[in-house]
């Protein structure tokens, strides 16, 4: 893994382990739920990130995903439906020396909290958001969400949904996201890696985890995650490397004129040199958007860090403006504020 170099958050002087972040609370997710794997990935990555235990802050909204703060021994805030992004924003602005993490779901962030979600991304607030996408409302027992496939029968769409679903990555990049990564709950190693990358990134990091809800939307991601099909439907992105996938890495992604295309290496004179090389740091989000939107059956789903672009963060700019104002202003206290307001004296 790459050396961690953020200096805003104070690091732990002693090495930490997963045990440092395990809370004493009973984990109450359903047996077999993908959330268990996500929790495990989080508690694995925190000691690797290496900040002082007290500098981790976990915020959430409402939904199954949002119970995660109770299961981690950090400072935690379990908020209200859709508002975790706004709560996190206040925390980060107040104390930029905290590593602020947020757990949310497809309903929490893309329906009820949609406004806060796009604006936290637009502002590039330095917060790491783990979005559990199971394409269903789990905690309210099985209603369709903004990412449910069109036509799917759920408790509130007995004849099938008639809504066009959001693609999370497309929404994030449309909101000028600087970091977007995607993982699956069946690949703990990759989840840990992309969470670590999210922590490294200065700005709003969105980590979408395709998560299985075993009760209300079982096997919704099966085509992507099942042993038999995953090689053909998972593209593991690596920065600077050509986009290859398949059981024997025999397939790849090529940019053909203005659209992406799945090709087979060796066929029709196609070589590795024809494949698109991943550049997660590119400023222009054009290719990132195309990659994020790839979906079966035509394309594999892109996993890993899709975009990680450098832009100033809101919280840094706040500190900068305050520093400048303190240096340049004669007004140092509230008495000064009042005295500078057109005062006259009655003798």
């Amino acid at each position: 893994m790459i050396e961690y170099n953020n200096t805003t958050v104070e690091r732990s002087r002693i090495p930490l382990t997963k045990q440092d972040f395990v809370s004493d609370q009973m984990v109450k997710w359903c047996p077999g739920c993908g959330d268990h794997a996500i929790l495990s990935a989080v508690s694995n990555v925190f000691p690797k990130i290496g900040y002082k235990k007290e500098n981790f802050m976990f915020v959430s909204g409402i939904g199954c995903s949002s119970r995660i703060p109770y299961y981690l021994n950090t400072y935690g805030f379990h908020g209200i439906h859709g508002r975790a992004a706004a709560i996190s924003t206040g925390i980060k602005i107040t104390n930029p020396h905290l590593s602020v993490w947020m757990a949310t779901g497809d309903g929490d962030s893309m329906a009820i909290g949609g406004n806060h979600f796009i604006h936290i991304i637009r502002r590039n607030m330095d917060i790491n958001i783990i979005l559990f996408n199971n394409q269903i409302y789990g905690l309210t027992k099985g209603q369709y969400s903004p990412t449910t496939n069109m036509g799917q029968i759920t408790k509130t769409s007995p004849q099938g949904t008639i809504e066009h679903p959001f693609n999370c990555g497309e929404l994030v990049l449309g909101a000028q996201g600087t970091f977007f990564a995607r993982g699956v709950d069946t690949n703990p190693k990759m989840m840990t890696e992309i969470m670590f990358e999210a922590a490294r990134h200065d700005g709003t990091s969105i980590v979408e985890i395709l998560q299985n809800c075993i009760i209300y939307n079982d096997k919704v991601h099966a085509l992507i995650t099942a042993k038999e099909t995953k090689d053909n439907y998972q593209l593991h992105l690596k920065n600077g490397e050509p986009m290859k996938f398949g059981a024997n890495m025999e397939k790849g992604i090529r940019l053909n004129k203005r659209r992406l295309e799945v090709v087979e290496i060796g066929k029709n004179d196609i070589t590795e040199n024809d494949l698109l090389v991943h550049d997660q740091y590119a400023g222009d989000p054009g290719i990132h958007l195309m990659i994020a939107k790839m979906a079966p059956p035509v394309y594999p789903v892109a996993l890993g860090v899709i975009r990680s672009a450098m832009y100033p963060t809101y919280d840094d700019l706040v500190e900068e403006q305050i520093k400048q104002a303190k240096e340049n202003s004669k007004i140092k206290c509230v008495n000064d504020v009042m005295a500078a307001s057109g005062v006259f004296e009655i003798k």
């Binding site: 400072y75 924003t89 206040g90």
Partner: protein, 615 residues
């Protein structure tokens, strides 16, 4: 100049400048108010402007006004009827004629009184000729023509010249009130320091207006208002909204807690957000959120992270914040919510004022969700009330709503500058690092207040949230008995704050025939009406509430003493019903007004007199 001998003296007067939205009425009103303030008069100003930015020219919808009430005595309200009205066009005259009384001086720009303007204003005939103004002293002045004559040598364009019309009227008003130019000119020198030509033009026009008034046939007297016996010291004029911003900053400074505001622009509260955004040199962090909900939720996050966190809004915004207020209640975090009330429901009357959000402040949440409610009593009290509510909120670890209103928020008064260092200290209950006994919901047995454990502090990692928590240890709990206990504890914690606020005081006799009750921003008008009745020989007492939830401990003891009680408020009876709920044994009459206007003394006197006479 011999007419100056015909000078009369008055204790207090009301002057109103009215014109089109772009006529500079707010500026000229402010200038005049600064002048009389610096000359030693007490004062209260009230801007009266439409909800639109620039409504169609010369229409009643576009009329903007600025009222100055000043005097040689204490001025605690914006004044009822006007002694002088400056009307820049027929529409503004039409809209404001109702504020004139017999003998009011109406200064009119006669150049704007043509047929087209009458039609735009919706007048059927020339109001100057149809006899409708016979009770008033009409001062017709061809102001537009005059300013063009005066400024001709400066070679300015017509628009710039016409823009000084307001200054001509200022000159006329300065003459009527026997004022010198000094104060106004000093002010202009500072205000337009970078535009010397503007200073020169304005000064020329003011002088010309002054001279014109001195020789005008209709102005046969001047009015002297002697300086008030104000306490010595440094003063400024301040609107309630600015005072609120300063009070909040002062509380942050005195508590040592960093300042955070999460807010969304909304009339008539926006000035608080704008003022606070200017003070980054104090370290104030001001976040303009994407909506009202994000405003309060960011503040809740900030509070958890250890800031003195605030959100500012007006009625409809408070509705949007309701769910989040409940979150602050259950997490027992300090949070200051300022609601500058306006006319409702829904969008209602954005630029007009009411006291109709009291129910919302007290009860507008799901579940049992008690919190502190206070109401500021005047523009200047906004400073002290916001300071005090921040102190209570932080020291008692509970969200708090400060109710101000459009009238006091946007009106202004003379403000004697306080020394922030001398304000009551604020000591939030911060949990100490590595306290082995720390539990999120352990409480101080006396106050029932939990400790504020700030993220980043060693040894205090803990979780809070919107789910019910087990008392003490703070784990999620759905236990029925625990929920009952927590509901009771949260309510008792707020009630106990009554031990930390002053007792309610009564103005007037203990054996008065009538007790008048009011609350919030109506103090000035109600107190003036009560004083008037007392002067007339009536036995009337007045008690004005600033602490609403909890009420002062002696509230019932006061109610007990009086046979007749009337509650005056700018709504249909919200405070009176709250009192009835709390103290059902005491019959209370009502005096209500819901017109988007403040109380006038002239509204209150007949109502109170009638109640006094009834058996």
């Amino acid at each position: 100049m011999s007419k100056k001998n015909n000078a009369i003296e008055m204790e207090d007067v009301v002057v109103k400048f009215v014109g089109d939205s772009g006529d500079g009425m707010q500026l000229v009103g402010t200038l005049f108010s600064e002048t009389v303030g610096i000359d030693g008069n007490d004062l209260a100003n009230f801007p009266d402007y439409p909800a639109e930015i620039r409504a169609p020219h010369n229409t009643v919808a576009g009329v903007s006004g600025f009222q100055v009430h000043f005097g040689s005595k204490e001025i605690n309200n914006f004044g009822d009827l006007c002694d002088v009205i400056v009307a820049m066009n027929p529409a503004s005259l039409k809209a404001n004629k109702k504020w004139a009384k017999k003998g009011t001086i109406l200064i009119i720009d006669s150049d704007t009184f043509d047929q087209k303007a009458f039609e735009r204003a919706g007048c059927t005939a020339n109001p100057l000729e149809d006899g409708s103004l016979k009770d008033y002293i009409i001062v017709k002045a061809p102001i537009t023509t005059k300013v063009k004559e005066i400024l001709a040598p400066l070679g300015l364009d017509i628009k710039t010249m016409e823009r000084t019309r307001n200054m001509f009227t200022l000159g006329m008003v300065l003459y009527i009130f026997n004022r010198t130019f000094n104060t106004t000119f000093d002010y202009l020198d500072k205000k337009f320091a970078k535009k010397p030509q503007m200073i020169e033009a304005n000064k020329m026009v003011i002088k010309a207006g002054f001279d014109y008034a001195s020789s005008h046939e209709s102005i046969d007297k001047t009015i002297t208002v002697k300086p008030a016996s104000l306490e010595k010291g440094k003063y400024t004029t301040v609107t309630g909204n600015i005072a609120t911003a300063w009070g909040l900053l002062a509380a942050s400074e005195r508590s040592g807690r960093p300042f955070f505001l999460g807010s969304y622009p909304i009339t008539p509260a926006t000035e608080i957000l704008m003022e606070l955004a200017r003070h980054k040199s104090l370290g104030a962090k001001v976040f303009q959120a994407e909506d009202e909900i994000a405003g309060i939720c960011s503040a809740i996050g900030a509070s958890y992270a250890g800031a003195m966190a605030c959100t500012t809004t007006s009625g409809p915004g408070l509705s949007l914040k309701s769910e989040a207020i409940g979150l602050a209640v259950i997490t027992e975090l300090p949070l200051i919510i300022v609601n500058v009330m306006r006319g409702g429901p829904s969008t209602g009357l954005p630029t007009k004022s009411e006291q109709s959000d009291l129910y919302q402040a007290l009860f507008g949440r799901n579940g049992e969700a008690p919190l502190i409610v206070m109401a500021a009593t005047s523009c200047t009290d906004c400073f002290y009330a916001s300071y005090e509510i921040a102190k209570l909120s932080m020291e008692h670890m509970t969200p708090a709503i400060l109710l101000t209103d459009g009238n006091i928020g946007q009106g202004s008064q003379l403000f004697k500058l306080p020394d922030v260092k001398k304000l009551a200290p604020i000591k939030p209950p911060i949990a100490e690092a590595n306290d082995p006994d720390y539990k999120p919901f352990n409480r101080d047995p006396k106050t029932l207040v939990r400790k504020w454990a700030i993220p980043g502090t060693e040894g205090l990692r803990h979780r809070v949230g919107g789910l019910e928590k087990e008392d003490g240890i703070g784990n999620v709990s759905m236990d029925p008995q625990n929920h009952q206990k927590m509901v009771d504890l949260r309510a008792a914690k707020v009630e106990k704050i009554a031990d930390f606020i002053p007792e309610q005081t009564v103005f007037g006799d203990e054996d008065a025939d009538l007790l008048v009750i009011s609350w919030g921003g109506t103090l000035g008008a109600v107190r003036t009406a009560v004083q008037e009745l007392q002067k007339q020989g009536n036995k009337v007492a007045h008690t004005h509430f600033r602490y609403i939830m909890p009420l002062p401990k002696n509230t019932e003891a006061i109610l007990k003493k009086y046979k007749k009680i009337v509650v005056a408020e700018l709504n249909s009876g919200q405070f009176v019903n709250y009192l009835r709920m709390k103290f059902p044994r005491y019959p209370m009459l009502q005096c209500n007004k819901v017109q988007g206007l403040p109380f006038f003394v002239s509204d209150l006197l007949p109502t109170f007199t009638k109640i006094l006479k009834e058996k």
